[in-house]
C-alpha cells in the first residue's frame, strides 16, 4: 500500500517537474492589491509566474472575491500587498485568513513601507493571533549608524545583512550568488511574541530601532521606541501546526522593484531580488519541506524478516530507521541535518524512556532514492506497555515531522525464562529435591523388604 502511494507520488512529482519548479501546496496564487500598487511589484510577480505560479488579482474591496468555495480552498497562496485603504473588504476578515491557513494555504503579507500608510485591521488581528505585534501607525525603523544613502535625512532606509542563523538551523534565505550582498529595507518592523511557531527571518541591525515618527521629541527614549536591535524583526515567518506558512514582511519595499537596484553607498547590487525569491519560496513551500519516505523498525528477536511488527519484547534490541527527504523547488533531495542539529528519536510511554540522536545509516534496510536514512539500535526497557516510536523533529523553517508508531512491548512469556537447571544457583535446590525423592523411595523399599524383627514382648506394647 505504502509502495503504491509512493509510486503515485513520484509519478505525480515527475509530471509536475516537467514544468518549472512548483510549490508543494499548489500554484494558485491570489494577489490582493490595487492596480497602482501592481506596477511597483512587477519583478516579484513575474518571477513568481516564471516559477510556475498562476496568479489571480483582486482588489482588497473586491466583492467577487471568496477564499473558499464549497468549503474548499480556492487559492493555495495569498499575497497581500500594502494598500492605501483603511481596511480590507468584507470578504477578507482576519478569520478568513486563519481559515485559509487552517486548510493548509500559505499567506505572504507585505506591510506598508511608509509610516503614513495604514495597516488594515484584519491584518493586525491576524498578526496578533499568531503572536506577532505590529506597531501603530507612524512608526518607522531607523538606523543612524549604517546609512544606505547619505542623502536621506531620516535615515529610514536600512542596509541589512542577509539572514544568518545559528549553526543548528538551516538557512533558506541566502541562496543568492552574492553572499555579502546587502538588503535595502524600509518599514516599521515587527515585535515577536514567545510562540515557538513564529521565527524571525530577517532581524534589524544592532543599532536600528523602531520609533514613533509623529512624536515631537527629536530623540527616542524607552517610551516611544517600539523595539530595537536584534529583537526587532523585519521579516518573520509563522509555520502553523499543519505546516501552512504565513510570512510578514515589515516593509513591502523590501520586495518591490525599486529595491532591486544597486545600493547607492556600496555601488553593489542589492540582494533584495534573490531574497524575495527565497522568502516567497519558503512561504509557498518550495523549500524547507520535509518528507518521511519510510519508517522501519525491527527487533533482534524476529530478525529482519519481520519489519514494522506490532509486538516487541522487553529487554531486546530493536532497530529503528526513518528516511527523510527535503523538497527543493522542484525535486526531493536527501535531507541532511545541519551540523549541530540531530534528528532525535524517542521511545515513549507517557514519558520518553529513550531519547537518542539518530545517525545517517550507510546501509538502510530499504533503499530510498533521494532520501537519507537515519537509524539507531537500542534495547527495549524492562517495562511492558504500549510504547511509541516517536520522531518529533520540529525545527525553524522546516516543516514538522511528528511521526508516531505505537507498538506493544510485552513481558516475557512463561516459557521464555531460563529454565531452572540453567541457573547455576538453583542446582543445590534441585539436588535437594532429587535426594529427597530418591531417599524416600529408598526408604519405602527398605521398609517393605526388610523383614520385621520379631520381638513379641515389645511389639505388643504399641498399636
Amino acid at each position: 500500500m505504502g509502495l503504491t502511494l509512493r509510486s503515485v507520488l513520484t509519478a505525480l512529482i515527475s509530471l509536475v517537474s516537467l514544468s518549472q519548479g512548483i510549490s508543494l501546496t499548489g500554484p494558485r496564487t491570489l494577489l490582493v492589491l490595487e492596480d497602482d500598487v501592481k506596477t511597483q511589484f512587477q519583478t516579484l510577480i513575474s518571477d513568481l509566474e516564471a516559477r510556475g505560479f498562476t496568479t489571480t488579482t483582486h482588489t482588497p474591496k473586491s466583492t467577487t472575491l471568496s477564499l473558499f468555495q464549497h468549503e474548499e480552498r480556492v487559492y493555495d497562496n495569498i499575497i497581500i500587498f500594502p494598500t492605501k485603504l483603511k481596511g480590507l473588504g468584507p470578504n477578507l476578515p482576519s478569520s478568513s485568513f486563519l481559515k485559509h491557513a487552517t486548510a493548509g494555504g500559505n499567506i505572504l503579507i507585505l506591510l506598508p513601507s511608509s509610516e503614513d500608510d495604514n495597516v488594515p485591521a484584519a491584518i493586525a488581528e491576524l498578526a496578533t493571533q499568531v503572536d506577532i505585534f505590529l506597531p501603530p501607525k507612524g512608526f518607522a525603523v531607523v538606523n543612524h549608524f549604517d546609512l544606505a544613502d547619505q542623502v536621506e535625512p531620516e535615515h529610514n532606509t536600512l542596509l541589512v545583512d542577509l539572514p544568518s542563523f545559528q549553526s543548528d538551523t538551516k538557512n533558506y534565505f541566502n541562496s543568492g550568488e552574492d553572499k555579502a550582498a546587502k538588503l535595502l529595507y524600509r518599514g516599521a518592523g515587527l515585535a515577536l511574541g514567545s510562540s515557538p511557531l513564529v521565527q524571525p527571518i530577517l532581524k534589524a541591525p544592532r543599532f536600528a530601532y523602531s520609533y514613533d515618527t509623529k512624536e515631537a521629541s527629536s530623540f527616542a527614549d524607552d517610551e516611544n521606541v517600539f523595539s530595537a536591535g536584534k529583537q526587532l524583526a523585519l521579516v518573520a515567518g509563522v509555520q502553523t501546526r499543519n505546516n501552512a506558512r504565513i510570512t510578514f514582511v515589515g516593509g513591502a519595499d523590501l520586495l518591490a522593484d525599486k529595491s532591486f537596484t544597486k545600493v547607492a553607498r556600496t555601488n553593489q547590487m542589492s540582494g533584495n531580488r534573490a531574497f524575495a525569491k527565497d522568502v516567497t519560496a519558503w512561504t509557498f513551500k518550495e523549500t524547507g519541506v520535509l518528507r518521511v519516505d519510510g519508517i522501519e523498525h525491527w527487533g533482534e528477536e524476529f530478525g529482519q524478516g519481520v519489519v514494522n511488527g506490532d509486538v516487541y519484547r522487553i529487554k531486546h534490541d530493536v532497530t529503528f530507521s526513518i528516511a527523510l527527504s527535503e523538497y527543493s523547488y522542484d525535486h526531493f533531495q536527501p535531507y541532511v541535518a545541519p551540523a549541530d542539529d540531530a534528528v532525535q528519536f524517542e521511545f515513549t510511554m507517557l514519558d520518553p524512556y529513550y531519547r537518542i540522536p539518530l545517525s545517517a545509516s550507510s546501509s538502510p534496510l530499504t533503499q530510498h532514492k533521494n532520501s537519507t536514512t537515519y537509524s539507531t539500535t537500542f534495547k527495549t526497557p524492562d517495562q511492558h506497555g504500549v510504547f511509541t516510536f516517536t520522531v518529533n523533529y520540529k525545527r525553524p523553517f522546516l516543516s514538522n515531522v511528528h511521526e508516531k508508531r505505537a507498538v506493544t512491548v510485552r513481558h516475557f512469556a512463561h516459557n521464555e525464562w531460563t529454565r531452572s537447571w540453567g541457573i547455576s544457583g538453583s542446582w543445590p535446590w534441585i539436588a535437594g529435591i532429587w535426594v529427597v525423592v530418591v531417599g524416600w523411595i529408598g526408604f519405602v523399599g527398605l521398609w517393605l523388604w526388610s523383614k520385621p524383627v520379631v520381638a513379641e514382648g515389645k511389639g505388643k506394647k504399641k498399636q
Binding site: 485591521a121 498578526a127 506597531p135 501552512a244 506497555g385 506493544t408
Partner: protein, 747 residues
Amino acid sequence: MSTVKSILFKDPASTESTRSILRVVILLTIAAAAVASRLFSVILDPWFNFRASKYLVKHGFFDFWNWFDDRTWYPLGRVTGGTLYPGLMVTSGAIWHALRMISLPVDIRNICVLLAPGFSGLTAFATYLFTKEMKDSGAGLLAAAFMGIAPGYISRSVAGSYDNEAIAIFLLMFTFYLWIKAAKLGSAMWGGLCALFYFYMVSAWGGYVFITNLIPLHVLVLILMGRYSGRIYVAYSSWYALGTLASMQVPFVGFLPVKTSEHMAALGIFGLIQLVAFVDYLRGQVSSKQFNTLLRALVILITIVAFTGLVTLTVTGVIAPWSGRFYSLWDTGYAKIHIPIIASVSEHQPTAWPSFFFDLNMLIWLFPAGVYLCFRQLTDEHVFIIVYSVMASYFAGVMVRLMLTLTPIVCVTAAITVSSIFDTYLEIDSPEEQEDDSESKKPKKEKVKETGGFLSSRAPYIGIYSITSKVAVVGAFSVYLVLFVLHCTWVTSNAYSSPSVVLASRMPDGSQHIIDDFREAYYWLRKNTPYDAKIMSWWDYGYQIGGMADRTTLVDNNTWNNTHIATVGKAMASSEEVSYDILRKHEVDYVLIIFGGLLGYSGDDINKFLWMVRIAEGVWPQEVQERKFFTHRGEYKVDHEATDTMKNSLMYKMSYYKFPSLFPPGQAQDRVRGARLPSEGPVLHTLDEAFTSENWIVRIYKVKDLDQFGRDHFSVSAFEGGKKKKGKKGGMAGRAAGKRGRRVVRI
C-alpha cells in the same frame, strides 16, 4: 395411596431405594429451580471475563497464559495471564471443548451466559452434600433448596453474570464438604481431593483466602478444645501441603502463600499440628511427670522461636505486611482514610441491616437457631459450622460483598433448624416420619401411624403430644417456606435481574420504559471513533467501554495502579488548563461521563465525584483538595452555591455543559441532587461535545487538538467569540498602549 405407603414404610430395603430415587428427583428439581430462577433477564456483564474467555477459546491455553492485553490500562497494558484468576475462563473453555468433542458446537458466549446458573445447580448439590454430613439428607435437601433460591447468592449468579463468584461459591461449598469428609474420616485421599478443589478455588477467586484461613481456624479450635486426633492431623497435613503447593502454580498467586500475612495462619497451624502430633507421640513414650516438664520446656522454647522468627521475617520484609484490603476488614473506617480507592466501591461498604433480610429473608432468623443446634451436638464438623458462622457473619457485616460467603452457611444452619423442627413436629408419638421431602405437603402424611420407625428416633423419645400444636407449628413453617419462595422470586426478578447497562423505569401509565443510553453511547463510540481512539472515563465503565465499544480505556474495573486511577481523578477534578495537559499527555481522544441530572439517575459521576477527588488527593495532596469542593458550610453543592473549584472542575463543566439550555431560563433543575442550577451553563474551551445520549445519561466529549496557530484554547474561544485578545499590547490597541512592542526577548 396405600400401596405407596406400604412401599414407603413397610419394607426397609425397598424404602431405601425409593428414597434415593426421590432424593435424586428432588435434587434435580432443586437444580432446575435454581437455574430457572436465574433466567429472568440475560445480559452478559463483566465483559472482560468474556473477552478473556473468547481469547482462550481462540488462541488456546498457552497463549492465554502469556496474553499481554494492550487494549486495557492504556498505556501500561495488562499482563493478563499473570494478573487474573483463570479458573472461570478455563472452566468455560473446558466446557466449550467438551461440548465440541461430543459434536455440540456452542458459541462461547452462550456458555459464558449460562455458566453461573449452571454452577448454581451444582452449588445446591454441594450444599446438600455438606449439610448431609452435618445432619442428614433431609436437612441436606432443605439446604440445597434454600441455596438454590437464596437472593444473597442469586445476586451474583444470574444468567450473564459471568464473574468469578459464579463458580467460586460452588467450589467453596465443595471444598468445605471435602474438608469435612477428610476430617471425619481422617483420610489422606479426601484431604487430597480437598486440596485439589482448593486449587481450583484458588484459580477461580481471590476469596480463596477465606478457605485458607477458615480451615486452619477450625483445626486450631479443635486443638484448643482438646479434640486433636490423628484424623485431623492426616486431613490437615495432606490438605495444606498439597493445597499450598498447588495454589502456588497459579501465576497470579505465585509465592503469596508463603510470603503474605494472610496465608501465615495456615502455615502456622501446619507447624502447630506437627508439634501437637509430636507431643502426642511423646506422651505415649514417657511418663507423665517427665512429660509435663518436657511439655513446659517445649512450649516456652517454641513460643520464643516462633515469635522471634515471625518478628524478624516481618521486619526484614520477607513476609509482606497485611495488605490494606485486609485492614479494612477489621476497621471499617480504615479504607476511607487510607485507601479511598477501596472505599469508593459500593460493594466494600458496611452492610446495612435491611439487606440481611432482603438477601436472606427468614433464613436470617433461623440461622442462630441452627448454630445453637450445632452446639447441642458439637462433633468436629459442627465446630466447623460454628467457626464458619462467626467469621462469615462478621465479614458480611463489614462488607456488602461478603454477604456472598455468609449465604451458604445461613442456608445450611437454617436447613438444620427447619429439618429439626419438622423432625420433632412431624412425628406422632412413635417416630416414624420420613423427612427428605419435608415440604409443605408433609402435614397430610402425618396422620399415618406406623410402627418400627427407622429415623432420628432418639432413645428417650420426648415428643409433642398435642396434634394442634403440631399442626400449628408445621403449618406456620409451611407458610414461611412458601413466603420465602415468594420473596426470593420477587427479589430475583426485581432487584437482581436488572442489568446495569439497561435501566427500566415506569411511565405514569404504568407501562415499562427502557432507558438504553449506555448501549446507545457505546454503540456510537464503536461506530464513530477510530479503532485506536483512547477513551477516558471513571474506572467503573472501563470494562463496558472495552467490551461493548471495543475502544482502549485508560482505567477499568480491575486497574490496580492507584496512580493511574488518581490521574483520571485529577483530570476530572482539575480546571481545564490542568486537565488539558493531562489529557494530551495520555493521548486521550474522548472523555466519557455519566450524568443523571436530567433523568434522576443517582449513580452518576457527580455523585461519584468526591471519590475521584479523594483518590486524586491521595496522590497529589497539593493540587487536589477535597475541602475546596465543599462550600464553607461543608456542603457538597452543584447549584449557584458551588465553590469555584467545583464549578471550574472538568467534571462539573462536562456534566452541566449546555444543560440549562434545556430548561426555560432560570429553571434548570438537577433531579438527582434536587438543585436549581445557575441559568448560565459552564463554558468549555478545550473540549467539544461529541455525543449526548437520549436521556443525557452518557455524555462524550472530544478533546480538542492543539491550536494550529499556537494559541491557547481560551484565546481561541475569545477570538471566535469576537473579543479582542486582551492583555497584549501592540496591534490595534491604539497609540497610547501600543508604543512599546511586546518585550519578549528571543534568542
